[in-house]
């Protein structure tokens, strides 16, 4: 058996799987997005842009997603950066691994259960009751944009910390010493050395969180109580409740295209910065 035959045989199962479960399904979504809705709930083959022309009907979902996703990403960044800095620069090496694992692990556990925890905390008998004890009454937290924002930050903070940590950990600590030896104040060292050198990590973290947020369904469904509605919620409604597959496909395609545009812009910025690091991954 030649090397080439062997490689082909090794790749065959994965290749076939990707073809049947990824390429064909995504092509069907693409084709259906130009179709028309059948009376029975399926799709009549057609070539029309009618579904795309109707997208403004779901404008509210896009608006919510495009407001709360950037706000959530930015808030997560503000909270994550000092922690990543602490882990990379201040913590003793023997503690690093365990502290880092403790940050990453929640991200891989059930987002469903973790969002549920906040229903519990923000609900009527949780934090609002505590606030009543200190004299603040009538605060409603659950089913508000604020609750969704808290859920977003809680859910995606670990994903933001990790890439920033990686970029700060690589930073040559002698640069910081040199800077302070030359008389720079700490905040100046930070603004002129630490921050610029950690931009690739910041960009990666923001992009990862933002992309995942754009497809989010669970957090708004559980903490927004049907009032704070994301594109993901619109998609669930279109495919599982009103069974409008053609329109849903157009919405899903739009989501993917918007995401691809954002990723492309990100790649462009990173390459312009001249620091295209490939080794910043979520693991």
């Amino acid at each position: 058996m030649t090397q080439k035959t062997r490689n082909w045989l090794l790749l065959a199962p994965a290749g076939a799987w990707f073809l049947v479960m990824l390429v064909i399904p995504l092509s069907v979504v693409f084709i259906f997005s130009f179709g028309e809705r059948a009376p029975s709930g399926g799709v009549v083959p057609a070539f029309t842009f009618e579904q795309y022309a109707n997208l403004p009907a779901r404008w509210a979902a896009f608006k919510n997603t495009m407001t709360l996703a950037p706000i959530g990403t930015f808030s997560a960044l503000l909270i994550a950066y000092p922690l990543a800095y602490f882990l990379a620069v201040k913590v003793k090496p023997e503690w690093k691994t365990i502290l880092l694992v403790l940050v990453i692990v929640p991200f891989w556990t059930s987002i469903l259960i973790r969002s549920y925890a906040w229903i519990f905390l923000l609900g009527g008998r949780g934090i609002p009751t505590l606030l009543e004890w200190v004299g603040i009454e009538g605060v409603r937290l659950i089913n508000t944009p604020f609750a969704v924002l808290v859920g977003i930050i809680y859910g995606y903070l670990p994903l933001m910390v990790f890439p920033i940590y990686v970029s700060l950990d690589k930073l040559d600590k002698r640069l910081l010493e040199a800077s302070s030896d030359l008389g720079a104040k700490p905040w100046r060292t930070f603004l002129q050395i630490t921050l610029p050198l950690s931009i690739p990590g910041i960009a990666t973290g923001c992009m990862l969180v933002f992309i995942l947020l754009m497809g989010e369904y669970l957090i708004p469904a559980l903490l927004g109580g049907g009032k704070v509605f994301f594109v993901g919620n619109a998609l669930v409604d279109l495919f599982l409740q009103s069974r409008n597959w053609a329109y849903g496909s157009a919405l899903a395609m739009t989501l993917v295209v918007v995401m691809l545009i954002i990723v492309t812009i990100y790649m462009w910025i990173i390459s312009r910065l001249g620091a295209g690091r490939k080794d910043v991954s979520i693991m």
């Binding site: 490689n7 090794l10 990824l22 403790l102 229903i119 809680y154 670990p158 995942l212 495919f239 995401m259």
Partner: protein
């Protein structure tokens, strides 16, 4: 600075801790602590709906993690020695599988498979011998395993490749210089070195599949996995039973994940 870190860690772990705390609550109301009890665990574990959902989840998680680890490792090893268009195509598919939101994977799998099945089922029925019930494809445990395997395979390839890239080439070269067959080199040199990564990939895949809600929500057909059960119960209200189930799910995932992380971190150091 240290105080800030402590606050963030508390923020990450207090909500989980509170669920665990209330799962041991003796009272029937979810929000008032009334003494210690494990009765909600007993109640959850004797609920036939919970046990059915748990069984489905375990079958799906085990099968898809196993398929993903085997096929993903095979692909990662083959991709190491390949350049050109085939490599580019695989890189693209892995990239797409990981980047596309879970909800779009769920939707695509649902309408893709339903469309294919609608064509396939009458065809099979027409060529099937008269008098026998023809097999019928439908959404269910099989489609769920297939969808999870696809996504997890991409994840395993990424993990194994990172390990292969960190491996010292000289070792495999030495092995073939000493007349080991390619198969012999793989079994005696490569496999022992990437084994921790394969195991970590399996554990991560298992956890991901076990915890996945959004893909299963679209693809599971009439089957109920544990996250689907929990989701529909939450909509009916917060109960101590859900706290108990949630705590069990979290503890199982945490144990698997910490093992996987330690395998990856330790293996990574040894190779340097």
């Amino acid at each position: 600075m240290r105080l800030y870190a402590i606050v963030v860690y508390l923020f990450l772990y207090i909500p989980i801790g509170i669920i665990a705390l209330f799962s041991f609550n003796a009272g029937r109301h979810a929000s008032e602590l009334q003494g210690f009890s494990i009765k909600w665990y007993g109640k959850a574990l004797s609920n036939p709906f919970v046990m059915d959902a748990l069984e489905t989840s375990l079958i799906v998680a085990f099968t898809s993690a196993l398929c993903a680890s085997v096929f993903g490792t095979m692909a990662a090893v083959a991709l190491q020695g390949i350049k050109g268009p085939l490599r580019t195509i695989f890189d693209m598919m892995i990239y797409i599988a990981v980047m596309i939101p879970g909800i779009v994977i769920g939707i695509a799998t649902l309408i893709g498979l339903v469309t294919v099945f609608d064509q396939l089922n009458p065809l099979i029925a027409s060529i099937w011998p008269n008098g026998f019930e023809p097999p019928k494809f439908r959404m269910g445990i099989g489609s769920l395993i297939a969808a999870h395997t696809m996504f997890l395979m991409a994840l395993v390839v990424i993990i194994i490749r990172a390990r292969l890239a960190g491996m010292d080439r000289a070792l495999t070269e030495a092995s073939s210089d000493l007349y080991a067959s390619p198969m012999g080199t793989f079994i005696q040199v490569t496999l022992p070195m990437i084994f921790p990564a394969i195991l970590a990939g399996f554990l991560l895949s298992f956890t991901f599949s076990f915890d996945d809600f959004i893909i299963a929500f679209f693809v599971a057909g009439s089957e109920t996995t544990l996250p689907i059960y929990v989701f529909s119960s939450i909509r009916r209200g917060v109960t101590p039973e859900i706290n108990a189930i949630g705590t069990m799910v979290l503890v199982i995932s945490l144990l698997l994940l910490i093992t996987a992380q330690l395998l990856l971190q330790r293996g990574g150091k040894k190779n340097k």
